[in-house]
């Protein structure tokens, strides 16, 4: 279990202090695939670097299985890092070593015998699907292949945790999907806890079980992907989940409602039955539904006629539907 307690990070800069992380509290349980999303500059990389103390937090504690890393002496910390693997956007392979030697690297560091390391490296090459690239140098591989080698190298240290900092951001959509599949597979087969840093909701949708939303160094909300996707509670969350959605501030104040779907039904029948059963003609102002783990999730903004009676009827009707919640969004912004 990874537990972040009151983590703050302040960078001294020429223009004064920069608060990259502000009192972050987060729990990541074993076996989760935990996404951390946020816009560029939100502090995602800084946060993930705090987990293995590549970046020392200015304040707070990083607990891994109850052990406070910040309190460890340097030597112990270095040892501890060997059980926390990390992969990067730019792969960061050793360019002057063959793929096989790259995968051997963490074992070399840990003092595994060369012959044994070689044997295991070959197995990991197999797991990531590149058994014929043992003797190739990273420069001879494509981006996706390089990331596979980086994943094999990460596995070679037999980690409990895998940190991925924008691991697919330099790859095309198809390769991204393949790499995400591989990471998911590793999570399921080896039970490694995965922390995925990304700015793309698509990545979270694809593999994460939980997600936390980071904005300007502040943790906005966290929860299961289903919860956050179907009903983001914060402004930052909504912006990320519905990037093309309607800006709520620009809508007429009192007669806009948000309908959230938590699996199952799609929205067309609801609109139709709203018109037929209640005689309320709703106007779809914005909608974004997604397919998460085989169920439909999403939400939709409806504009209702300027009539309190009709609004009440519509609200009442929708509230009685299964797997659907509704809230008035006009009020808070009026």
């Amino acid at each position: 279990m990874i537990e972040l307690r009151h983590i703050s990070k302040v960078f001294p800069t020429a223009e004064g202090e920069l608060r990259a992380l502000d009192d972050i509290n987060l729990i990541i349980r074993d076996g989760d695939v935990f996404g951390i999303v946020g816009m560029s500059g939100a502090g995602k990389s800084t946060l993930v670097r705090c987990i293995n103390l590549l970046e020392r937090p200015t304040q707070g504690q990083v607990l891994i299985d109850g052990q406070d890393l910040c309190a460890l002496p340097e030597r112990e910390l270095i040892r501890k890092r060997r059980s926390i693997a990390m992969i990067f956007q730019q792969f960061n392979l050793l360019m002057q070593r063959t793929c096989l030697k790259n995968i051997c690297f963490p074992m070399e560091i840990a003092g595994v015998k060369p012959a044994q390391a070689r044997q295991r490296a070959l197995e990991y090459l197999d797991i990531v699907g590149l058994p014929d690239k043992a003797g190739a140098y990273p420069a001879q591989l494509s981006g996706g292949q390089r990331q596979r080698i980086a994943i094999a190298r990460a596995l070679a240290s037999d980690p409990k945790i895998l940190l991925c900092d924008e691991a697919t951001s330099a790859l095309d959509p198809k390769t991204t999907r393949d790499i995400l599949r591989l990471i998911q597979d590793i999570n399921r087969r080896l039970g490694i806890t995965v922390v995925v840093i990304t700015h793309e909701m698509g990545v979270v949708e694809e593999i994460c079980s939980h997600v936390a939303i980071l904005d300007h160094g502040v943790l906005q909300e966290a929860g299961t992907v289903e919860e956050i996707f179907s009903n983001p509670k914060t402004e930052a969350g909504r912006r990320l989940v519905y990037p093309d959605g309607v800006a709520i501030d620009q809508l007429p104040a009192t007669n806009v409602i948000r309908v959230a779907f938590q699996g199952g039904s799609s929205y067309e029948p609801l609109i139709a039955s709203l018109a037929i059963d209640c005689g309320v003609k709703a106007n779809i102002l914005g909608a974004d539904t997604r397919n998460v783990n085989g169920q439909a999730f999403g939400s939709m903004l409806l504009g209702l006629p300027d009539d309190p009676d009709q609004i009440a009827r519509a609200m009442n009707y929708i509230k009685n539907q299964p797997n659907v919640t509704v809230e008035e969004v006009g009020e808070g912004h009026g």
């Binding site: 590549l54 270095i78 360019m95 002057q96 560091i109 140098y137 420069a139 001879q140």
Partner: protein, 252 residues
Amino acid sequence: MDKFWNDLAEVFASDRYLEEFLTGTWESLYSTVIATVVAFLLGLALAVLLVAGERSGVRPLPGPLMKVVNILINILRSVPFLILMLFVTPLSLILLGTQIGTVASIPPLVVAAAPFVARLVETSLREVDPGVIEAAQAMGCTPFQIIRKVILPECLPSLISCFTTAFITILGYGAMAGAIGGGGLGKIAINYGYHRYNLAVCLVATVLIVILVQIAQAIGSYLSARVDHQGKTRKVRYRVRLNDPARQEETT
């Protein structure tokens, strides 16, 4: 002008000159090789200290210490070689028991070249991708392991280039050392060309130095490209396996 041609003809005719040039070349070569190896090792150590020890380095060292090392290197680099040599010859006396000759010129060459090598190597060490170093740190490498297993191997091709440059520079310094008591081709060129107005001998000695430089550069460039797997300098060779089942499928 007639004297020049006569002298030149004599250079190629007489065994005495041949022997002198052979000895000179040998002296130049071994003093340069020894001085380069020592200066390179010293310079490398200094460069590692500079890069690893700075505040954002892999093993930060006290700021004042780094300042002192930096200033020392700058001072040694700014003193002209000939003057430095005058100051350092007493060191040769202490170390080697003599102030003149080829061997005696090695310590001054080392002292003059090491700071230069340090800056040269420093630049190349800094070119190692910080991302790769970060990855190594994340994997739990100790600072020493990062230096030995990441930084140095990753810039091996450019270290070879640095060595080549150091060799050529020291060969040049060595020729200057010939003017004040050193041996080698430099001494021959100065002795004949300057003191005896025998320009032919001077010319041949100079040509020999040029040839040594060319050879050194060619070997250095070849080795550097040879060990580089980054893919920029060397053509990637694809091995085609004829019994590759995937290929056979394609053709049938």
